[in-house]
C-alpha cells in the first residue's frame, strides 16, 4: 500500500476512478440509499489566464490526519454509513481530477449535506497548497470560497 494511503482516505499522486470509489463505498453496505459525490477538477482558465497544470503540495502527515478526522466527524455529524476522500498531489493537468468526496447515507439529504460540508472543511483544514502553471508563469493560489 502507498504510505500516504489508508484506503477510504488517501493522498496520492496518481489519478483515481470515480466509478471504483463509488463501487467500493456501495460494497460496504446494502443499507445505503443515497450516495452524493463531489468531484473537483482542474480548470484550464483562472483569473483571466489560461492554466496548463496545477501542482499540489501538502504537509503530508497533518493533511492525512485532518482528512481522516474529517471523515470520522462527517460520519457522526450526518449519520453516514460510509465516506471516502481522495485528494491528488503533485502535478495535475488541466481537465484532470483533483479531489473526490463520496458520501453514502440511508437517505439523500444527509449524503448531500455531508458532501458539501466535507469539501468546505477540507479546503479550510487540510494543509494543501496549489500552484497554477500558466504560459505567463507560475503563481500560488489564494484561497477563495
Amino acid at each position: 500500500m502507498n504510505p500516504l494511503t489508508n484506503d477510504a482516505v488517501r493522498l496520492q499522486l496518481e489519478d483515481f476512478s470515480l466509478d471504483a470509489e463509488v463501487s467500493a463505498l456501495r460494497a460496504h453496505s446494502k443499507r445505503i440509499g443515497g450516495i452524493a459525490t463531489f468531484l473537483g477538477c482542474t480548470r484550464d482558465f483562472s483569473e483571466a489566464r489560461a492554466v496548463r497544470e496545477i501542482t499540489f503540495e501538502a504537509y503530508h502527515a497533518m493533511a492525512l490526519a485532518e482528512l481522516i478526522n474529517l471523515r470520522e466527524e462527517a460520519m457522526l455529524r450526518f449519520g453516514l454509513i460510509d465516506a471516502r476522500i481522495i485528494h491528488r498531489l503533485g502535478t495535475v493537468q488541466a481537465g484532470e481530477n483533483i479531489v473526490l468526496i463520496v458520501a453514502g447515507a440511508e437517505h439523500r439529504a444527509p449524503a448531500f449535506d455531508a458532501c458539501r460540508w466535507l469539501i468546505d472543511e477540507l479546503k479550510a483544514r487540510a494543509p494543501i497548497w496549489k500552484k497554477e502553471i500558466t504560459p505567463q508563469g507560475e503563481s500560488w493560489v489564494t484561497p477563495h470560497p
Binding site: A58, A65, I119, K123, W129, K131, W140, T142, P143
Partner: protein, 80 residues
C-alpha cells in the same frame, strides 16, 4: 534540536524547506517565530497557521517545546 518546516508559498519565499534550531529549555513556538521572522520577513508576511508536532496552535498556546519538536509555519490552505 527543533525542526522547522516550510511548505508551498512560504517555502518559496523563505527559499528553504527546513531549518534546524538548537533546543533550549523553555523555548516556545513564539520564540521560534520571532527568531525566524527577522531572517525571513517575506515568508512570515503570509504565515497565518502554525502547527507543533502536527497540531494547530495559537497565540494562547504557550507551552514549552519538547526537544525534537517539529514546528511548521504555513500560509492559508488552498487545496481542493
Amino acid at each position: 534540536m527543533i525542526d522547522i518546516l516550510f511548505f508551498g508559498p512560504v517555502a518559496e519565499r523563505a527559499k528553504t524547506r527546513q531549518i534546524r534550531l538548537d533546543y533550549r529549555e523553555g523555548l516556545r513556538w513564539q520564540d521560534v517565530r520571532d527568531t525566524l521572522q527577522t531572517r525571513h520577513p517575506e515568508a512570515f508576511e503570509i504565515v497565518s497557521i502554525v502547527a507543533v508536532n502536527g497540531q494547530r496552535v495559537g497565540e494562547q498556546d504557550t507551552a514549552s517545546l519538547p526537544d525534537g519538536a517539529e514546528v511548521v509555519f504555513m500560509s492559508a490552505f488552498s487545496g481542493g
